[in-house]
Symmetry: D2
């Protein structure tokens, strides 16, 4: 976890800016012999792709991924897999305003403070456009863990939570919000339309679940599975909170309520609850791994906000670019990718250390 690389044995490095010619990822350490072609990756990119509904940015990007190395005759060779996605719709608009003044809530000021300069075009490296590269890399990671099924969905937008009693996996891909509860869809639709019209934006909560993770993944103490997931999720643009299992809810539980009791099962223990979200002591227990993350409302809004210029002068700014009224929506496929990337690495590390 240094700069733009993530992972230990299964490691990926991303590169690229919002308005550069392309962006990509290099996946290193992928096991050899896995069947892999662009067709295995493209569906995941299509899920994250902008411009698919009125609730996401109107930027039109085909997000076509190319595999430039690491595959021979349709199989991974164990050498680095270079993935590239060309930017197509990087509009030649005028970025002089963004270059001049800092957009509050965006990384403009922080990048300038860190590096002394920045690429203002569409947020440069700090743009969520980079997550396309993660999703491509995550597609490779999924092939490493075929025993695991990962799905992410939204459980809350603008303070409106789903009704868990109506949770239906099959609904997730039936609406533009990755919403597992059909009854909540019209409420979110209305809230987002209202936000769009008023030039505002809404926050959201994404939940991501991995079924099929065997017990034993995660390397204590500083490559704990939950620690790696927290790092992975917190690195997603706009995420401000991460929780595992009951998460912040555990603070209100008593010890006897929180311990997930066990009974004998056919294949390992049968747990009577999953407050732990599938991870204890930083190691998977064989239960579903459950992570939730909170995403802030995008700071690109039409309401003027007070700010300062690069020269330190007071000014106001209105962000007119193409943006998502709720960045949480397109974060769902990104969360799945990060989960896959963390789990693929944990699997290889576990195999490496223990032979299991």
């Amino acid at each position: 976890m240094s700069y733009n690389s993530f992972g230990n044995l299964f490691r990926f490095t991303t590169w690229g800016e919002s308005h550069g010619p392309a962006l990509g990822a290099v996946v290193d350490g992928c096991p050899p012999g896995l069947a892999l072609s662009e067709a295995d990756l493209q569906p995941w990119l299509d899920k994250r792709r902008p411009g698919t509904s009125r609730f996401t940015t109107q930027r039109q990007e085909p997000d076509a991924v190319r595999i430039l190395s690491g595959v021979y005759e349709g199989r991974t060779t164990g050498t680095p897999i270079s993935l590239m996605i060309e930017n197509v719709d990087q509009r030649s608009k005028d970025y002089s305003e963004v270059a001049r003044a800092y957009r509050p809530g965006h990384a403009d000021y922080a990048y300038d403070a860190k590096y002394g300069l920045r690429d203002p075009r569409g947020g440069g490296r700090s743009s969520a456009r980079e997550t396309a590269a993660r999703v491509a890399a995550g597609g490779v990671a999924r092939l490493v863990i075929p025993e695991v099924k990962i799905r992410a969905y939204l459980v809350e937008i603008g303070g409106i939570a789903i009704d868990r009693s109506r949770f239906d996996d099959a609904e997730i891909d039936n609406n533009p919000f990755f919403c597992p509860d059909a009854g909540t869809v019209p409420l979110w639709e209305a809230a987002l339309d209202a936000a769009r019209k008023s030039g505002s934006s809404l926050g959201a909560i994404v939940e991501c679940v991995a079924d099929g993770v065997p017990a034993g993944w995660g390397a204590p103490l500083y490559a704990k599975l939950d620690s790696q997931l927290a790092a992975a999720c917190m690195s997603i643009n706009a995420v401000k909170g991460v929780e595992i299992g009951d998460g912040f809810g555990v603070a209100r539980l008593r010890g006897e309520d929180n311990a997930d009791a066990m009974r004998p099962g056919n294949d390992g223990p049968l747990f009577l609850a999953n407050h732990a979200g599938g991870i204890v002591g930083g190691i998977s227990t064989g239960q579903p791994v459950v992570v939730r993350m909170a995403l802030k409302p995008t700071s690109s809004i039409l309401t003027p906000v007070q700010t300062i210029t690069r020269d330190g002068e007071a000014t106001e700014i209105v962000t007119k670019g193409r943006h998502d009224p709720c960045v949480g929506i397109r974060a769902a496929p990104v969360a799945e990718a990060m989960m896959a990337l963390v789990l693929a690495d944990a699997k290889l590390m576990q195999r490496g250390q223990t032979g299991r």
Copy 2:
């Protein structure tokens, strides 16, 4: 972040089990020339030390830290600093029950599933006793960032939150709960006494704030400051959720409420709010860095819980060891240590890459 090491340029590695002869940390990459003696580290260890009130485990450990290398004539030399803490009160009790059956909520089953064997004495490596080594290492980290002031305190125990209007820094060290609100202290005292008497335990929320962090620390995209803090905090025993700034609260904010507006200040911008918790785009902004974490109630309780044995037989278990009724309390000094360790690394990385 691999196995038992954390950090990039400023890196530490911990070792040791709850009932082994000793535990320790090796701090590598510490800048040379810093004044350092055991007396600089012992106060932090004393804050975390068990047995200081009836609200923490009754294990009696002096937690006296020894510096075995890396210091010459009272100054760090730039070579690895080996810190060792001997275990004194590792009681020779009978651990055959814990060796035979898995304690739900503890790492017993997960360690067995991962490694095929485990040290059952006091939880072995999974014991929170390991955090003593982090606190010692954190004491070294603090010397690297003298410009930063870090303080952690509890904001909630057993569902009882402090009253923020009564927040007083000076109170934090005046009570056994690191509670910044004197009015809440008796409530927590009563709740914890009741929990202790009924053989139960309570969850908690710890908040940790770093003042004085300059703008520009944190290395996007996968060594983002918030990502590193999330990994660091989630690696603390019993933590199930981490949030930065408004955290999960951002999910209910609108874009115009969440962006922290800026005005010209004397030394960098003057922010009109700190929803971001001092971090945007993974980089510090110069505002206070605010992180909060939720800790589950310890699973060592007197109520019998259903579980299985190593051989897969059904049984019940009651955990009789010495334990904290609220592990959140002693997590406060650990949270401070992890914050210091992350910030020290971020400072050196920033200096290395940019010369600033």
Copy 3:
């Protein structure tokens, strides 16, 4: 140093196969604000480019490098720099023979043993073509260490050593062998012509010197400057030996001959000799850093060699591809690149840890 990444603070990752569509490098951790364009990198690639004389492979590759990220308005931004070189002359020849039988001295068998499969086209990932990516990355590294001047040259081909008394820096770029001794050039020319005609190949020794390295670079004990250089040089295709300063010659020196005495100088000590090659205790001394490496004769030769097929049958093989009669020649620019990459990292690490 894991898989396809090298370096700590200044880190690069390469990808690509000999006959894939492209190859490249991602340089991560480059300081911001450095002037950088393709024109800064192309000259180094041109030095390594194949097909420039009859003494190197006849493969025709323009090796035009493109910068895909990390640069804005001609300056590095501190974000990852993606460099790509398209393969142009990957001939659609028949590789079924190489796919079927292992070429002795090539990585064919080892890759199969490791991965269970391999890309046989031109050696796939094991081809020295990958070094084009290193040379591009090395071009970026040079910008990080403008105080350092690096030059590599050949001191021996096919057992014919240069005459050190005729050493002339200015000659190095005057002949196709990077030979600093004009008198030796015709001898090497004759030897290589003879080797080419008989379908054979010759070994070589490359020396690489860095002037201007200040005292204090290198991080003991396992990121010692000489240790990093040894790793870097040994990773170059065909290198079988690496030495620093007097290298293997020290084994025959006596203690009083080997210690480089010091006298007071204007700017640090004035050394009376440089047996140490500019590195003592793994740290630079301010003297020129001198590394030498031995390169084996390429194993692609016209003489039939006994080998086995993938199925374990006995057979013979003659390698007919386009190859260098002396791979040592084109290793000189690669050695320079690796030296630059190691030094850039050492500089940033030193600055990070010590602020110097």
Copy 4:
């Protein structure tokens, strides 16, 4: 490979100074379930121990190793193994001379230049005493690779090479020089006695061979097995050159002589030669892995040498401490340890990535 840690999946970190209270290593990533006690490590330390003959330093150190963590009931648990060796004979002599002036050939000046201060007692961190910790860690590594047999021996001292035709494995432990040729022993004895009497010292060449390494270990391109070995060996005190297989000799071979031909064997190919030293393309071939390293004569000699003081004044220095007349001798067990450490890591990485 950063600072004081080495390795990827199987990683060790050393700490300690020559005259500090102790030194040690933390071995992280060791597979669980291996039988391990101090008795498994002590024999390797005894081989390296000083004071065992008149040809090594007269410092008396029992070098008794203690295991402080990571082992339960005689088996490794998969958690970090902390190894500690107390320093006993760190003589309270006067180091003011060494503190004041730089010993040429020693790391004194370089450490000062890097860190701005140094521990002058016995060389501090730069002392070869640190290699005791490597040898202890190497003892753990050997348990990870029981299929491999490693032996190191000297092949040259003071320019006197062994006669390879008299090579006898059984002789290696029969003399104080790890010399495999009984006929050479008296020659080395005489040369070393003469060097000792004249207050001088001699260089040496150590060869280290690993039998039983299966094909497929080593992770190209930057964790190549030969690259890791080169880094490991060059990190040993006084080593100035490293070569694999024929090493520098390959520079004088022709392609047809250098390729190791293969015939069908019972278990993988039967190689007709081993010019490659068991590594091609950075990956083991199943042949013996052969590495050789050159060690300089120690610079601690009785002949006065010109040098400068910390203040930059000209002076002379004579090093009077206890030292090895030929540091190459005690480097043999260290070379074995480094070989074991590199191979253990390569094995786990290979298993992690490929499952083989």
